[in-house]
Structure formats: C-alpha cells, structure tokens
C-alpha cells in the first residue's frame, strides 16, 4: 500500500535556526513527490515537485531534496513568516489516475 509519513509532527524553531523536515514514502512507481505549504484556514500552496533521486529544488529559504526512500525540506535561517504546516505528497503509478497521497504534515512554528 502506498504510504507517506512525515516527521516530526511539530517543530518549533527560533528565528535563524536552520532545520530539516522529513518525508518518508513507500509507493509503487513514484511519479513525483510534492511539497506544499498550508496556512491556517487556507488551501495548500504548491512549493516543489521532485521526480528522481538526487534531484534538488530551491526557493528562497527552502530547499527540497529526494532520495529513493525519502525527501527532506531544509529550511535555512527561517523567519516567523515561514510558520505553517508543510505537507508532503506523492503521486504513484499511472493507473491511479494522477491523485496525490498526502502525509500528515509537519507544523512549523518560528519564533522571533
């Protein structure tokens, strides 16, 4: 069964304190791993797509990396506005019609 597990569930950082979020996955034929940011009361906002092991994507203070079993979202020198829930999702083989399977999310809080 396709599965996505994120850790930690919650992470509290001081402003400027770099850290990483983990997303472990088990899927049949990965067709993309996706990172989203979700603010309270909002829909998920797309951040990155990764397709193959070794691939990296960057956006401002965020960098996403991918291996054959997991992905990391590295946050460098975070600011309070980076506080949000970060969701990881995978798309499995063609037969599943393009749907995304989401992990439980990591709730990030950055204090000034």
């Amino acid at each position: 069964e396709d599965q996505v597990t994120q850790s930690p569930e919650a992470l509290r950082l001081q402003e400027g304190e770099s850290s990483s979020l983990n997303c472990s996955y088990t899927v049949s034929g990965l067709r993309g791993l996706f990172w989203y940011r979700q603010d309270p009361g909002k829909g998920p906002e797309f951040l990155f797509t990764l397709y193959s092991a070794g691939e990296e994507k960057e956006k401002e203070r965020l960098k996403a990396t991918l291996t054959k079993k997991e992905s990391f979202l590295h946050i460098t020198a975070p600011k309070p506005e980076d506080s949000a829930t970060y969701l990881c999702a995978v798309r499995a083989r063609q037969g599943q019609g393009g749907k995304l399977i989401f992990g439980q999310g990591t709730e990030l809080s950055v204090k000034p």
Binding site: F34, G43, T49, G97
Partner: protein
Amino acid sequence: SAVISQKPSRDICQRGTSLTIQCQVDSQVTMMFWYRQQPGQSLTLIATANQGSEATYESGFVIDKFPISRPNLTFSTLTVSNMSPEDSSIYLCSGPYILAANTGELFFGEGSRLTVL
C-alpha cells in the same frame, strides 16, 4: 497557475441535512479532485471527478454519501448528504493536472469549512 474558487467558504449545518459545495476553475482541466481534511488531520482523497463520466471514489467513500457532478471542464460540485457531526471537515477541490507541462502539481481552492451540529 490556475485559480480555483469554492463556495461556500464555510457553513454551519444541521444534522440530517445535505450541502452542495461548488468548485470553479479558471481554465479547462481533465480531472478535478475532492479532498477532505478533518480537524488537525492531513488531506484524504474522496473522489476524482471526471467530465462526462461517473466520479471514481476512494475506499471508504460512496456515491450515496458524496455525490459528485462534473458538467463541464471547469466546474464540479460535491454534495455531503445526510450530514452528521463526523462530517465536520474542510472540503477541498483541486486541479488542474497540468498535462501539457507535465509538472504534475495540483492547485487547491481555499476550502469549504463545514460544521455539523
């Protein structure tokens, strides 16, 4: 990126009633997806809405409880039928699946927050 609009944004409903949520996309898309996000939880796919055919439901979700319409390539509705307090959730519409660019990401609406009393 596409813009996805949902209505209503929130509602408070009585047990036993039904509510229809509308989703409008500003560009034509092949598939639209309906997700549920229960309080403090992540997103669970309810069904895939296909234009011109019946929706495809995930395990644990049935058409009688969550009927879906997809009359054209930019619009879909999800009805939550015979509601109970357990149906209190955020319901999210997503799309498009950008086949042309093959980037694969889904964009989401702001969600419809339902509270069932």
